[in-house]
Structure formats: C-alpha cells, structure tokens
Subunit: 251 residues, 2 copies
Amino acid sequence: MALPQKHFKRGSTKPELPEDGVLRFFSMAFCPFSHRVHLMLAAKQIEHHKIYVDLIEKPEWYKDYSPLGKVPAVQLTGVEDQPTLVESLIIAEYLDQQYPQTRLFPKDPLQKALDKILIERFAPVVSAIYPVLTCNPNAPTDAIPKFENALDVFEVELGKRGTPYFAGQSIGIVDYMIWPWFERFPSMKINTEQKYELDAKRFEKLLKWRDLMAQDEVVQKTALDVQLHAEFQKSKTLGNPQYDIAFKGKL
Amino acid sequence: MALPQKHFKRGSTKPELPEDGVLRFFSMAFCPFSHRVHLMLAAKQIEHHKIYVDLIEKPEWYKDYSPLGKVPAVQLTGVEDQPTLVESLIIAEYLDQQYPQTRLFPKDPLQKALDKILIERFAPVVSAIYPVLTCNPNAPTDAIPKFENALDVFEVELGKRGTPYFAGQSIGIVDYMIWPWFERFPSMKINTEQKYELDAKRFEKLLKWRDLMAQDEVVQKTALDVQLHAEFQKSKTLGNPQYDIAFKGKL
C-alpha cells in the first residue's frame, strides 16, 4: 500500500498503516536529522513505510507514535508493543546492529566511542550555522566565524585520519551522520546576501570529501536538490513552510 | 602514586601523571555527569587515577586532555595516542564493552535502544530542576511543576516494567545513569524555602526504587552526603564554590 506523499498536518485523519511487519519511518522531508535515518535505511536497503509529518502544525495523532512529537521516529511493528524509537543516533545504532549487512559503526569499542564523540562535536557546527541556514533574519553576526571554527575540527580530523572518508577507504557512520548538513550548506550560496560558500583552501579536504560523498549511491538516493532546500528555507522564514515541495518532480 | 585530593585550578602546575597504563578519570566531585562515570568505574572495579578539575577556574593545562574543557573525561593510557573520551554516556558504553564483567547495558539491541531513549528522557528532568537544585535565585516559577511532569515518565515506566530496578531484578544502566540526581534531590529540602521533597504518593515507586538504590554498595562507595551537596550549591551561588569540601571527613 502506498502512503500519500504529503506532510500530514493538524486536523488530518490518522492514516491507516499496514500491519505487515514493515517498519514505519516518520520523517519531515527537509529535516537533517530525519535525513540521517533515511541514509541508514537506504544504505542497508531496509524496507519501510514513510510517513511525513508537518512539524509546525503537527497532526494530533502523531503523539500516539512519538510522545514528544519529534522526528525522526521509527516504529517497529514486528515486535511486541510496537515500540517507537527516537533520536537519530540511537536509531542509527539500533539499525546497524539489527541489520548487520554493510556495518557502518566500527566494531572496535574504542573507535566506536571516538567516532561517536566526533559526531557529538558536529553539534556546535549545526548550532552555529542553524540561523544562517534557515534564513533567520536575526542570525548573530558571529554565526559564520563560529561555524567555521567548529568545522575546522573536521578538516583537521580528515587530515589526521589520512583517508578519503572519515571511516577509511569506504563510507562509515561519521560520514553519513554529518552528511545531511553538507547537502544543505550550498543553499547558503543562494540564500545569503554574500553568496556564502565554504572556503576552498581552509576546507580543502572536506570539500574533496564532499565531492566523493555526493557520488555515493545512497547519498544520491536520499538527496534533495539545493534549489529545493533554499526554496523551503525561504518559505519557512516567510511563515508558510512548503514541506511538500520536496516531492516536486518526484513520483 | 597518590594524586592530591584537590580540585586543580587556573594557574596550577600540571600534575605529573604516572605512566602505568592505568586510566585517568577527570572529574569534579559534585558534577552529576562525572558521578555517572564514577558509578561505572566502581561497579566494574576498574582501577583508575582520579584528577579533580575546578570547572569555574579551569587549569590551563586541562585542554591538553579534554579539548572542550569538559568533565567527565577518561584518558586511556594503555593505547596509542592516549585518547581522551568525553560525554558520560559514551564513556559508560565504552567501559561496559571494554570491561564486560557485570554487564550494565542490555545485550538485546532493541532493549538497549529503549534504555538509551529513556536516559535521554531524563534530560528534561535535569534541565527543569537545575536552577532550583543549584540555588539559582532566579529559578523560573514553573521549574518544579515542569520537573515533576518530566519525572512522571519515570514513575510510569517503573510501573510498566514492574520490577524493582529499571533494569529488572538487579541494577542496570538506566538506574546508574539517573541516580546522581536522586542523590542530589534531597538537598532541596535543605536549600529551598518550601523545604521541597518528592511527593510520597505521586512518586511512590520511584521513592521505593531510591531507597533500594541507596543500599547498593557501588552507590554507597560513590556517595556524598546531602549536607555536603547543599553546602556546595550554596557556596556556588555565593560566587565562591567550595569544591574541596567534598573531601571533608575523607582520606
């Protein structure tokens, strides 16, 4: 059964979800944290139903699935009580263990801890650039320098690791967990007055990594066009977020 | 070699730490997140050196160990590059995997994910009560109702699980990860005007759990007296935090 490709809103009827043991992925098409889970599902080719949720006008019935109203959420239907998992990283680790084809987390406990710490260190990158990325007219003036300083950690780390991907010769968990923002950064060239782009010299290794990542099949499968990202953010700033433009030109 | 029992401050000389392969635990005696790691180390009887850090006037050399200046931090000395781990939950999971005697995280990936989500849901409890617990005179007036609503989740969950501990018949990861705040809550009876205590009826199961937890050997080994907690918080509010009172009456 195909679920409708639209973001369910306040006042919408609760969709009838098939009881077929297939997991249910609650998402918002432009949410970078949902994008993390989308990458995991695509990388592991895990069958799922996708239900889109309007995050501003949340459907009343959504709290039956995710008590805090957050996305991403993944509901397991094949097990007792049909629990819903939340928090992108917790979901990612669960999926990695439950679907061990293409392991993405390192097996070694120390490397795993170091990778998780590195992913945590992406939080200051996100919080610094968030107002700029979302076209907030009151973005702090020091947002971009703060963002670049936080991003330096990743440029340096790629150099230290000396490999094309954070995980080594092929893509791993750090690569996928930080990717969603790299897909979104180029929208700043469209949406900012100064046509902001990452400095080619300062972020040389990261930009090379970005080009490699962009060629990955899984990344391509989950990608939205930069024009769409820019358009969505503008619509959000104007108080009328156009969630469903994500489906423009798609089936 | 015994390291000094004091909180190292700005301007202090970097202590010479023994190169004996024993791990180094950087802590602040009253920090609940450090307490989580202390509980893990005690539960697993992991040998360690403990270095206390003044969090207000941080020693300059501390960033050599923990680049963000955060505690808790655990430096591994027996491995290449002597990496430092941060984030209490990441450290806890690493220690659980590396020292598998007394497993504290569930083995089942789903139960593990559910427990981690439950631990995440303690964050709103902490953020609501933090200003009250730390004697901030500008604590929001709705802090206590918000705190109690967030804590209800845990009362309900204990009922659902139907076991004395969150982990079942014996202590597990959720129990230890939320315990540090339960050790600190009674200080509100001393420090708040209304002599605040958890409601015996509303939190019946949690209070029973608290009494059981207080009898645990590991909990006792890492415990600080409620009077000390109260005294520390008052000293902090007065702008002169007395970190070292933690060692009152101890060796």
